[in-house]
Subunit: 190 residues, 2 copies
Amino acid sequence: MEILERAITEKGKVLSGGVLKVGAFLNNQIDVNLISAMGKDIYEKFKDCGVTKILTVEASGIAIAVITAQFFNCNAVFAKKNKTANLDGEFFSAKCFSFTHKDENTLIVPKEYLDKNDTVLIVDDFLAHGAAANALIDIVKQSGASLAGVAIAIEKGFQGGGDELREKGVNLYSLVVIDSMENGRVVFRK
Amino acid sequence: MEILERAITEKGKVLSGGVLKVGAFLNNQIDVNLISAMGKDIYEKFKDCGVTKILTVEASGIAIAVITAQFFNCNAVFAKKNKTANLDGEFFSAKCFSFTHKDENTLIVPKEYLDKNDTVLIVDDFLAHGAAANALIDIVKQSGASLAGVAIAIEKGFQGGGDELREKGVNLYSLVVIDSMENGRVVFRK
């Protein structure tokens, strides 16, 4: 997606440890026009899949998930990290290791928000090693819902999570795929 | 706001400790049509204030902030809680005690996302004791930006934070104000 590649090139920052900072437009600060164009693009890809719910994980996935849900005219659900004081009752859960933050979270979704009648599209800002996407797929399976696919703003192709999902047969759509970020230079997959 | 009052009455849950759970439509699961109507209402209230940026705090404020920002055609910025591994450089910060989670966070916003040329509208899902709103107001002051006001989905009027802000002269707009939640029954301010 050309406008997203341009935003990454112009406003993204490559940090050490394979981290790409896109706080200027995708998370932390959110360029709603750009995110809206991304949501529309995701909608065009999955509009015939019968999507009834968008699923993401807090916090940085929420903006793109909510705007994508507007196009599908369906609810968005976000998984929370760990158990918080105001989550009562039962929930689906899956472990998720964050390579960026070097810690393990448990992603949780109350059971009342996903069920076997749902067709779920997972949406997130980044796909790197695939930990969050795999945890969300696990949660969809637990709920008995169908998985329409996974839509990602930025796939870090060189970290392998995307190719693993494709090998498993997941319908993965990444708006941009980055093949390398060596020496601070972002190279996009053609 | 009548449709929000109805959603709270029909789908909200009153938990112990003065907690109102609205995960079914406002956070955790997000009803995009409802949030969109709320964003439009906030826009009508503040459309002549020259708003250039919407400011909220992760995670539950992001959905309403982003959708409100669509109406203003401006960027949304969210404060993060604590310092995370991929936040480099300088930032504005303010302490914020969460009465729900019984812990203190430091809210941080990178300095590059707010400056003296901005006119900021703070948007959040809840206002109770006012800790988050006051921390965000402090961050706006540090940046030198102007404060257009504070727009809140649900003000828990009986916890006093809203009236304190009004006494300070803050332009506070709450879509609904709850006067009491005794015995599990939500009473709205007329």
